[in-house]
Symmetry: C2
DNA sequence: CGGTATCCCAAATGATACTG
DNA sequence: CAGTATCATTTGGGATACCG
């Protein structure tokens, strides 16, 4: 049993992150923040997510109080999703993380290549014949 | 193949997030940001992470240029981990996310209970006999 | 259209044992 | 102490088919 002793906050942060921190949740929140209101299949197309995962993700987000689901009992049915107030407040830190990600992708790629080159060249020190 | 069309940034954000966005990476970064320098087993104890996952996580973080690994070839060996400059800059948005998490855990729990109660009571509208 | 149910595969992770 | 290797299990997630 993991205890996360010594970093008591880690335990709780971990808790929330394992709920709303998965990639699909993050991407759904980002999309809804950008477009305001989206229907089920709009989200599906936008994110390239499978129907199953979108359904599960949205249900979780609704349950956690981050998104609002509005069902219009027309034919064919129409369901619209928006962010709740809490969902919008969640978008702020997520957006910060996204910005960092975009701003550092290149540096990370560079670091990776440097690391891989060093590791790869370790076996033979000089150039291959 | 998922395309993430319509949200071009999502694609790249997704990329970085799937690298450094997993829960163990986040928790390692938080711990190192708090304590400055930690040895392998200190991290292991602090986070309640398995040896294997810590090893993998640290290797990835080092590769991505977020943590520094210093090996002291003593007996017994001693390895110290710190955040690189980029690692520290990553800590800022992560910290924001962590703060949000801590500040909203209760509200999320409340939303969950409300949701679950509503769902559970849906079958029979009045109280059980 | 907006799901839910089922099946099945791939990736993540923990437990354990072994090594330098 | 600081790992690596192997195994077994759980979980994530796509494909498909069906329902209201």
């Amino acid at each position: 049993m993991p205890d996360t002793a010594g970093c008591p906050d880690c335990e709780r942060i971990n808790e929330v992150l394992s709920r709303v921190g998965d990639r699909w949740s993050v991407l759904v929140v980002i999309s809804l923040a950008r477009y305001g209101t989206l229907r089920f299949n709009e989200l599906k197309r936008n994110l390239g997510i499978s129907q199953r995962m979108l359904s599960l993700t949205l249900k979780e987000l609704e349950r956690d109080g981050l998104v609002n689901r509005t069902y219009h009992p027309t034919i064919p049915p129409k369901v619209e999703y928006t962010l709740t107030e809490m969902g919008q407040s969640f978008h702020a830190p997520v957006s910060a993380l996204g910005s960092w990600a975009l701003g550092n992708l290149n540096r990370i790629d560079a670091a990776r290549q440097a690391y891989d080159n060093k590791a790869g060249g370790e076996i033979g020190t000089d150039a291959p014949a």
